[in-house]
Symmetry: none
Subunit: 209 residues, 4 copies
DNA sequence: AATGAATGAGAGTTCATTCAT
DNA sequence: AATGAATGAACTCTCATTCAT
């Protein structure tokens, strides 16, 4: 073994710092499902630990509080979204194509993690003020990266410039966050189809008149 | 009846059935504010009655439960939205104008009642299943009325028909529901300006290519 | 009824604000016994309410917290001690007699309320910082009133002046607070006998050499 | 043996059986501080081990339980006090001098170990009944040794005999135990000065009238 | 119409201790 | 000698609701 993991040999460490199938991972996973389904306040710690098959003590060994559990869910979502956007923006395809790909991708990944998206919108107030601040800051950075794409097109004349980029983006993200309210996996449209439609709607809105 | 009596002097009973300034009205009003600010579960009955300057007994005299209070808030919002849409659709202006007016209006009235909108999105869980069903049914009727406007234009060729009307509408309403997350009254845009932009975005999305 | 009680007629209000035999009085009474016997931390709210024959909810209806219950016990003790000292100091008997009476009295009343005395010494840290401050301030006033008697005698030459009055007093009060550790009602000495001995010990200590 | 080895170089095992600086010694030392400052119940095992820089497992390796830690603290105090009293009584100085030296010494050593004294008074409850019994028995032996000095003087007529020796002693020890409530190292009196005053107060109380 | 004392179930959290390693 | 994950019982406190008045 050269340098793989500093901890116990044989332990694979995932991105979020917890081994797959481990107790904290199971807790995060069931908590995500339950928070999305019933809301944070209506989900008791008792329910979470029962669903994860552990005891309360075990949960409090890994997470300082119920709020902490929620924060970890937020942290993972933010990390993944930011990484993905970074990746898509970096290409050298034409601007409209990069924006379209980013828009389509955010829809597809939102649908792939609808529980996370549901929690994201509904549970901000349950985080402590400091954590809210940190989440909002990360979120703003994401928004601004996206906006810079639009502004680039507005400057070059490729996109219409008579609408504030922020307003267009907030409109678009509203649509994305709303997906949880209507999209059903079992419905007639695939996530990719919805993504393509949404990306097209965003670009229509930016098409010069 | 030509016009809803908005503040007609001498009227003691308002649309929602409670005299203005009366105990139940005060309760509904403070409950709306508190639910929007702290969430339904985080707001205790004690806080509500204290803010309204009455006692618990008084509250339970008028409302069967805390959930009831929430339901009344939903009921009023739904009633008002439906009435307003009905009024706007009824005109004989050209289709695009009527749709644009409806779109713009829903934005303006959402901004005028941001607390209601916030509660609407976040608190469905807390209603009893039957009440949820009733709210959803009313909501669906609203959505369908709006959709019929779009489909009319798609049939006539005035709007592009290669995008499902439902998808376009859900996209649009996502934007509307998201207003509470970013719109600030103290910002640089008036509610009417935002409404006009949003209506324009909707119509851009429907413009034939 | 001319002016007796502003509340419900027929209700007798005691010094501490609660009717005798009422729920809050019963709670205070059993809490005093239990805190003295087992210590504050080792006494659970559950035990208190069971011993008082009420439910937890009832307790939290009257007292904001377990700490509050403790504070009320302190408040009563302080009030009674101060009142009693005031009464004894006011007389016009010779100084030594007044001091002796006060010393003897504090012993007798400490023995009469041994539980209160036990709690007093052991449970200060369980009060909130602000309440600790308030208790200490009241206590200091008591101490100072007592000290002024001694200093008066030291100035006049009636008592020896080569020992700090504070030190003598702290020594004496140490003995008083220690009563709970050894005095048994069933023993051979009455409270009055102990009080007389203690007063005599204090005066011996002050007798000029 | 002429004198206890206080810091004799080359000695690795101290009186209480643990090498200085060793893990168990560090644990006893921080536990003493914490118990005195916050009380036994308010101090968690977690805090103790963190302050000592070890883990829980290490603590449970050396001490059977949290209570054990407390008992060891008691045991050391008792051993030292008893040894010291034995030493002082053994001399051939006149009775009054020996009593005075013992009284003064107990004050000085109490002040030197105020944390121990604080714990001693407040934490008896927390020992198991058997350990309480053992502590009390040891304590009684100490008290009786002290009392024998007084009774010796009462028999010989050197001390007044009209006050029970027990009562005088309990009065005195009350003063000693109370030291923690008022004595401040930074104050104007040295420990030795307070010891001399207290010894004098005790002897004044025993002086024949 | 309105009070407020009382209920009872359940919430989140803490903690001393154990045990496989 | 030492680790740290896991337990399970107990803890304080909250709250929507009821009911006699």
């Amino acid at each position: 073994m050269t340098r793989a993991s500093a901890g116990k040999p044989g332990t694979t460490i995932e991105e979020n710092g917890y081994a797959p199938g481990s107790v904290p991972r199971r807790l995060l996973s069931v908590a995500t499902k339950l928070f999305a389904k019933k809301g944070f306040d209506r989900t008791s710690v008792q329910e979470i630990v029962e669903a994860a098959g552990v005891t309360k003590g075990a949960m409090y060994h890994y997470f300082g509080s119920k709020d902490d559990l929620l924060y970890e869910i937020y942290a993972r979502v933010l990390r993944e979204q930011t990484d993905q956007l970074e990746r898509l923006m970096a290409g050298d395809a034409p601007l409209a194509e990069r924006l379209s790909a980013a828009a389509s991708d955010v829809v597809v990944s939102t649908i792939a993690n609808l529980d996370d998206a549901t929690i994201f919108m509904q549970s901000m107030h349950h985080l402590s003020p400091e954590k809210q601040k940190s989440v909002r800051a990360e979120r703003r950075k994401y928004h601004e990266r996206f906006r810079s794409l639009i502004e680039e097109g507005q400057s070059s004349g490729e996109f219409r410039a008579d609408k504030p980029a922020d307003l267009v983006l907030d409109f678009f993200f509203g649509g994305v966050h709303h997906l949880g309210s209507w999209y059903r996996r079992s419905g007639s449209m695939s996530a990719q189809q919805v993504g393509d439609h949404y990306a097209d709607l965003l670009l229509s809105a930016l098409r010069p008149v």
